[in-house]
Amino acid sequence: MAPEARSQRVDAARALREAGVTALIAFGLFLPLIGFQTVTDIHNELILQTRWQLLFAITAVVCIGRLAFSLGIEPWLAQRTLRPANATSAPWRSFVGRWFVPFAIGFVIAYPPIVIALNGFSGAVKWIDNFGIQILIYVMLGWGLNIVVGLAGLLDLGYVAFYAVGSYSYALLAKTLGLSFWILLPLAGVLASFWGILLGFPVLRLRGDYLAIVTLAFGEIIRIVLINFVDLTNGYAGISSIPRPTFFGIPFNANEDGFAAVFGLEFSPLYRTIFLYYLILALALLTALATVRLRRLPVGRAWEALREDETACRSLGINTTNTKLTAFAMGAMFAGFAGSFFASRQGFISPESFTFLESATILSIVVLGGMGSQVGVAIAAIVMIGGTEIMRDLDFLKQIFGPTFDPTQYRMLLFGFAMVLIMIWKPRGLIATREPSVFLKERKTIAADLVKEGHG
C-alpha cells in the first residue's frame, strides 16, 4: 500500500513539474504569436496591441491539458501495454466478429426505410443524401484505395485523379454521346483503370516516398489539365446539367413517364435519392465483394506478397510489374465507378471536387481504418465523413461561441486530432490484424506487428 501511494505522489509531483514546463514553453511560444498583435489605427498607422487575456487563457489550457495527460491518459496507456494481449479476447469479441458484417449490411439496406419512418418524407432527404450517399461514396473509394495501399502496399497520394477521370468520362460522354448511365458506368471504370495503368508504368521502379510524390504529382496533373483544357472540360466553370441516372430507362421527374407516375406514386424528389442510395450501396458492396474474392485468387495473394517482400516475389517467378499494374488498375477502376456515380448524382462537376484534400481524406480513411481491413475502412469512413456532416448541424455551438462560429471550419483540426489519437491508441489503424486468405485446419488471425506495410 505504502509504496503504491508514494509512487502516486511522485507521479503527481512529476505531472505538476511537466505541466509547469509545458506552460512555460507554451507561454514563450505564444507570447510573440498571440500576445502581441499589430493593427492599423484610424490614422493608418501600425500600432502594437497586447492580448494578455487570450495568451494566459491559452497557456492555462495547455497547462491543464498536459496535467490531465500526465495524470490520466499516460497511466492508462502504460496499464494497457502491461496487460497481456490475450486477456482482451473475451467471448463477446468473437460473437461481435462473427455477426458484425451481416448485421451492418442488413442495417445499411434497411437504412432508408428506417430514416423515412423516423423523420418523414421531407426530413429523410438530408439523412439519406448527406449521410448515406456521401459516406458510401467514401466507403467505396476507401475500399478501392485499400487494394492499392492496403493489399499491394503501394502508397498512392493521387487516388482522386482516377475519381476525376471517372467523373469527367461520365459527364463528357453522357453529354456529347447521350449514352445511358449503365453503359457509361463500366466505361468510366475502364477508362479510369486505363489511366491507372498509364500512371503505373512510369512509377513501377519507384518505391516508398518517391512513389508517393509521383502519384501526388499525377493527381495534380490531372486536376490542372481539367482546369486548363477549357475546350473539353470547361475549366473552372465545370460541367453542368449532366444527365441524371434513370431507373432502367424511367427518369425520376414529375412528368407522366417519370418514375412516380409509372409506379402510381405521388412525385417526390426522395425517390431519386433512395435510388441513388441503393445504387452506391450496390457499387460499394461490389467493391467489397470483388476485393474479398481477389484476395483468395493468386493475384490477390501476389499483391499481399508484394507488400511483404518484393524481392522474394520475383524469386518465385511472379511478374511484379504486372502485379503492381493490376493493383493500380483495379483500384483505379473502382474510383472510376465511384466517379461516374458522383457525376450523375451531383449533376455538376468541376475541378474543385478533385483536389489533393480528397486524396488525403481517402488515404486517411484507409490508414485510420487499418490498411487491408475492409471493416476498419468502412468504420473510418463513417466516422470521418459522418463526423464532418454532423458538424454542419451543430447549431447550438453558435450559442456558445457566438454567431460567427462555423463548426465545419474546424473539420481539419478534428481530423488531425482523430489521426493523432488513433496513432497513439492504435498505430496500425482501427483493425490492423490480417485474416489469412486460406487455411488448412483453422483460420487464425495474424497479429498486426507481423504484417508489413509495404515499401511503396
Binding site: 470483388a290 474474392r293 481477389l294 485468387l297 493468386p298 493475384v299 495473394r301 501476389a302 499481399e304 506478397a305 507488400r307 511483404e308 517482400d309 524481392t311 522474394a312 516475389c313 520475383r314 524469386s315 518465385l316 517467378g317 511472379i318 511478374n319 511484379t320 493490376t326 490480417r434 489469412p436 486468405s437 486460406v438 487455411f439 488448412l440 485446419k441 483453422e442 483460420r443 487464425k444 495474424i446 497479429a447 507481423l450 504484417v451 508489413k452
Partner: protein, 302 residues
C-alpha cells in the same frame, strides 16, 4: 571444350563489375544434373553475386549462363541460341536457356531455377500455407484464367487451388511444418523459417535449386536435419542443387562437387576431399602464406 553428358548449368566466363570493383572475374564452372554443387569461399568472395547473376537479379557484365532442360543433347544447340539472340530454344525433347538474357522472374517461371536468400525472405505476415501458395502463383494464375475466370467462380480455379494446397501439404509434411500451416510465417523459429523457405522454393517446381547459406544460424542438430532434407530432395526428385555455404559440416558431407571462390576468381574445383586438402583453399580461408599452410593444417586437424 569437353561437353560432359550430364551438365545442367554451365557458367562460362562470368564477369560482374560494380563500377571499378570486379566482384566476379572470368568465372567458369559446370553443375551436373542431380548433383549437389557447393560454392564456397571467404566473405566477399563473390558467391552471392554469382547466385544473383544465375537467378537474374543481376545482369552479368560478361559471360554466358547456359541451362538445360530435358535431354542432354540439347546442349548442342547452345551456340545456335547464342547466335540468334533469343532467351531460350525449345526442342522436341528439351530446351536450352541463356539465363543472363532473362529477367529475374522469368528465370524462375520459365527456366525453373529457384532460389533462397542468405537473410531469409519469407512473407512474414502471411501464413505458412499462403507462402507456399504464392510460390505456385503462375500455375494458379493460369487456372484462374488470369483472374477473370477465378473472380467469376469457375471451377477450374478451385480444382487447381485444391491441388496447390495438396502440394503445399506434401512439402509441409516433408519439412515438418504441417502442424503450423495456419500460423504466420514470421512466428516460426529461425530453423523452421529456413526449412519453409526451401519448401517454398521447391513449390515452384524447379530443375535447379539455388540455396544461399541454408545452414546459416542453425544449430548442429538443425544442420544435420538440413543435410538429410537436401539429400532426400535430391534422391526423390533428382534435383540439382547449387549451394553457397560456410558451414563445412554441411558442405563436406553432402556436396558432390565443390567450387572455391576467392576475390571473384575460382581457386579450386573438385570433389570435397580434393578441395579440403588444396593448399590454396586453406590459404584463402585462413589467410596465411603458402609455406605456413602445412603447419596450420596440422593445428586445425585437417
Amino acid at each position: 571444350m569437353a561437353r560432359t553428358g550430364n551438365t545442367i548449368l554451365r557458367v562460362e566466363h562470368l564477369t560482374m563489375r560494380f563500377g571499378g570493383l570486379v566482384a566476379v572475374d572470368d568465372l567458369s564452372f559446370e553443375a551436373e544434373q542431380g548433383d549437389i554443387t557447393a560454392l564456397i569461399g571467404p566473405n566477399g568472395a563473390g558467391k552471392t553475386t554469382v547466385f544473383n547473376c544465375i537467378t537474374g537479379f543481376y545482369k552479368p557484365s560478361e559471360g554466358r549462363l547456359g541451362l538445360r532442360h530435358g535431354a542432354a543433347k540439347a546442349w548442342a544447340h547452345l551456340e545456335a541460341l547464342t547466335d540468334n539472340g533469343e532467351r531460350c530454344l525449345t526442342l522436341p525433347d528439351g530446351a536450352v536457356y541463356q539465363l543472363e538474357r532473362m529477367p529475374d522472374y522469368l528465370v524462375t517461371q520459365q527456366a525453373r531455377v529457384a532460389r533462397t536468400f542468405q537473410n531469409i525472405r519469407l512473407f512474414p505476415g502471411m501464413t505458412v500455407l499462403e507462402n507456399l501458395l504464392v510460390a505456385q502463383h503462375n500455375r494458379l494464375m493460369l487456372a484462374s484464367g488470369y483472374t477473370l475466370l477465378g473472380i467469376l467462380g469457375f471451377p477450374s480455379y478451385s480444382i487447381a487451388e485444391k491441388a496447390a494446397i495438396d502440394t503445399a501439404r506434401l512439402w509441409l509434411d516433408r519439412v515438418g511444418l504441417l502442424a503450423r500451416a495456419d500460423d504466420p510465417a514470421g512466428d516460426l523459429p529461425y530453423g523452421a523459417q529456413r526449412r519453409l523457405e526451401i519448401a517454398r522454393a521447391m513449390c515452384t517446381e524447379p530443375v535447379l535449386l539455388c540455396l544461399d547459406e541454408p545452414a546459416a544460424g542453425l544449430n548442429p542438430r538443425e544442420s544435420a536435419e538440413l543435410n538429410e532434407l537436401l539429400l532426400a530432395i535430391r534422391a526423390e526428385h533428382g534435383m540439382s542443387i547449387l549451394l553457397i555455404e560456410h558451414d563445412m559440416s554441411v558442405v563436406m558431407e553432402i556436396s558432390d562437387h565443390v567450387i572455391v571462390l576467392d576475390y571473384g576468381v575460382r581457386i579450386a574445383d573438385g570433389v570435397p576431399n580434393e578441395v579440403r586438402n588444396d593448399p590454396k583453399v586453406i590459404a584463402a580461408y585462413l589467410g596465411v602464406a603458402d609455406r605456413d599452410v602445412a603447419k596450420i593444417e596440422a593445428d586445425v586437424g585437417l
